[in-house]
Amino acid sequence: MKILIAEDDQNTRDGLLEILGTEGYVTIGAADGKQALDLFVREKPDMVCLDVMMPGISGYDVCREIRRFNTDVPVIFLTAKSEEIDKVLGLELGADDYISKPFGIKEVIARIRAVARRTIARSPGKEDLPASFKMDDLDVIPSELRARREETSIDLGPRDIKILALLHRNRGKVLDRDTIFNECWGLDYMPNSRSLDQHISQLRKKIELDPRNPRIIQTVHNAGYRYESL
């Protein structure tokens, strides 16, 4: 899933690109409204995050322009003023959601994921997502970007789904870090074993009953990770 992030503050933009990239989304950054419109036409993103106050063309105008030829693409506004929230949620702009500044990572991920889930549900098959599968007592439902254990629902990002699907496809095999990186991050991503281990660690906290003694994602010392089907 490709997300266009239009934010004039470079640090905020870079942070969002990092967070959403780590989450498994393909991200594109735009520093102003004009660049955002150009990139929207060229890259055809699946979702747009727009800062309201941008030099040149404001987020409102970018949204109106996008809506002229695309009424489906989800638009999430980043706002600093509560007055702006009323406007972006108004029927006139047709925004899907808003994120108030100052926001935390969890809030951004949760909001983006909720909108992404609705987008996938609206156009099934558009995203290259595997069918639902079961790992141990966990039901992974990629089309909903979530997993279920009995009555508990666990939110997952696209990258979480990719990692779990990869391990599930290669159940019983040890997958080294390079393989996981290439499959789940892409060949052009600069490998960093630390970020992979961090991501696995975070994922375990979400899906494992006891993250210290994982049953789904097991560590094979000096080799990689493995899902052992019981």
Binding site: D9, N11, T12, G15, L16, E18, I19, A80, K81, S82, E83, I85, D86, S100, K101, P102, F103, G104, I105, K106, V108, R194, S195, Q198, S201, Q202
Partner: protein, 516 residues
């Protein structure tokens, strides 16, 4: 401008003016009445002069008549002779002690004028009129005497009588034309310069209100009432002196003019003061608005750097290995402080909105317990670090209609206070419950507590209790006041419950189940 301010300014201008106008008019009316009375007194004094002059004439005539009525020889011839000689005497008459007229009588010897007298005076004798002295206590040293008047023909006629030692009454019919001529002779001529005022006229009127004589240049209207009047003394008591003056002179008009001028000056002064205070007030309000606007602007400007501090703090925290406790702690501090700053900015912005009257809720669906969980997540590390045990009893898991941001702000303020002032306590207990459309959240700590006498004071804006717990702890005194305002806006309230130890805040919010 606010209607209240307009009302106050109007009151400042109108109330004193109305009061002053009322006092002024009352004063002017009293003054006018007093002046009128003074004036009437002056007029009456002038009329009295005239009356006294006429009275002295009458008295002089009385003296002459008294001498005449005591003429020893009273034979008809003698009396007829005197009648002929005395210009004022028209006819003598004599009554015996029994009240019978003994002269003149119709016995064939009466003259024509005596016969005419009898004819004129017939009503007097027929009604058996008795002549009595008008004095209440007649001087016994003198004989009784007096006047008798009656109407006959075209005017008033006069009799002067005196009782004799024998009991007889000797009287004189006074020639009314001569009498009137003498009286008028005493009055000023119509062009007499001495008695003439600028705009006045004195009339002598008879019982039928017909003018007998008048002087003075003023011409009163036909229906004009006299400014003063005075009846003449006997025997002319049926005649009245009337004083007419052009317009109502005196100080009344001047008083009204003075008072009106004073009121106009006062009105200008008050309007000037009201305008001055209005402008001052508007200037202060503008300055206050500018300050609020400035704080508002700055607070919004702070949000972007704050976003970055919080976001990168969290990124740092996620990237730090679980083993690196020091880096994790520092990242945690950055996150906690950014959230503290975030709460402060939210409170400042809420306060500014409240000042501008633009504060309102953004109702959406949410779960109260989920909001409590998410707020508690950010406070849990620091509270647990200070040794506090957190007990959570959630009982509001339903999806309801609420403004989650408002609930988050209120809980953030309450837990922030626990973190600042009650961290010495052993536990924090948060309970949520739902009943009907209302959700109640109780936040109770076991800290040093707040005296019950300060239960309301803590909600006053910018109020910070000063004691050994709060001294030295940074704070704005905004949190609880804003939280209560928000709770009330949300259909509930925020109160401090009395508790034996620690502090207990009870938050209620109206949270109807959201229609699916």
């Amino acid at each position: 401008m606010k209607p209240k301010l307009i009302a106050i300014l109007l009151l400042i201008v109108i109330a004193p003016l109305v009061l002053m106008a009322w006092l002024g008019v009352s004063l002017a009316r009293n003054e006018q009445e007093r002046a009128q009375k003074d004036f009437e007194r002056v007029l009456l004094a002038r009329l009295s002069d005239v009356r006294d002059r006429i009275a002295s004439l009458t008295a002089e005539q009385e003296r002459a008549f008294l001498e005449l009525t005591q003429v020893a020889t009273r034979g008809p011839d003698r009396l007829r002779e005197i009648t002929r000689k005395e210009r004022l005497v028209k006819q003598f008459f004599i009554m015996n002690a029994d009240g019978d007229l003994v002269y003149p009588v119709r016995n064939g010897t009466e003259t024509e004028s005596e016969n005419a007298f009898l004819f004129r005076t017939e009503p007097i004798w027929q009604t058996g009129t008795t002549f009595t002295d008008p004095s209440d206590l007649p001087d016994r040293a003198r004989l009784s005497y007096g006047w008798h008047t009656w109407f006959w023909g075209n005017g008033m006629h006069f009799l002067f009588w005196q009782e004799q030692e024998s009991g007889e009454i000797v009287g004189i019919e006074v020639d009314r034309m001569v009498l009137m001529s003498d009286v008028l002779g005493e009055l000023p001529a119509d062009d007499h310069p001495g008695d003439r005022s600028e705009h006045d006229r004195i009339k002598l009127v008879n019982a039928k209100s017909e003018t007998i004589y008048q002087w003075g240049p003023y011409e009163p209207a036909a229906d004009e009432s006299p400014s003063a009047d005075l009846s003449l003394a006997a025997p002319l008591g049926a005649w009245t002196l009337q004083y007419y003056v052009s317009g109502l002179t005196g100080t009344g008009g001047t008083s009204i003019f003075n008072i009106t001028s004073g009121l106009v000056v006062m009105a200008f002064l008050l309007v000037f003061l009201a305008v001055y205070f209005y402008r001052e007030n508007m200037r202060n309000m503008r300055e206050a608005e500018q300050k609020v606007s400035f704080v508002n602007q700055v607070s919004h400007e702070l949000k972007t750097p704050l976003t970055n501090i919080r976001m990168y703090g969290e990124l740092l925290n996620d990237s730090v290995s679980d083993d690196d406790a020091r880096l994790r702690k520092w990242a945690g501090i950055i996150m906690a402080e950014s959230q503290r700053l975030s709460r402060l900015i939210t409170n400042v912005l809420t306060f500014a909105k409240k000042q501008k009257g633009t504060i309102r809720l953004r109702m959406t669906s949410g779960v109260v317990d989920a909001v409590i969980d998410s707020v508690l997540i950010s406070f849990r590390p620091s509270l647990e670090k200070s040794g506090m045990q957190i007990r959570l009893f959630t009982g509001a898991p339903a999806t309801v209609e609420l403004d989650p941001d408002v609930l988050e702000q209120i809980l953030g303020n309450l837990l922030n206070n626990v973190e600042k002032y009650a961290s010495a306590g052993e536990h924090l207990c948060i309970t949520s419950a739902r009943e009907g459309d209302m959700t109640t959240i109780i936040v109770a700590d076991s800290g040093p507590g707040i005296p019950e006498t300060d239960a309301e004071k803590v909600f006053a804006p910018f109020t910070r209790l000063s004691n050994k717990i709060t001294d030295g702890v940074a704070g704005t005194g905004m949190g609880l006041g804003i939280s209560r305002d928000l709770a009330r806006l949300h259909g509930g309230d925020l109160v401090m419950d009395p508790s034996e130890s620690g502090t207990t805040f009870r938050l209620t919010l109206k949270t109807p189940v959201r229609a699916s």
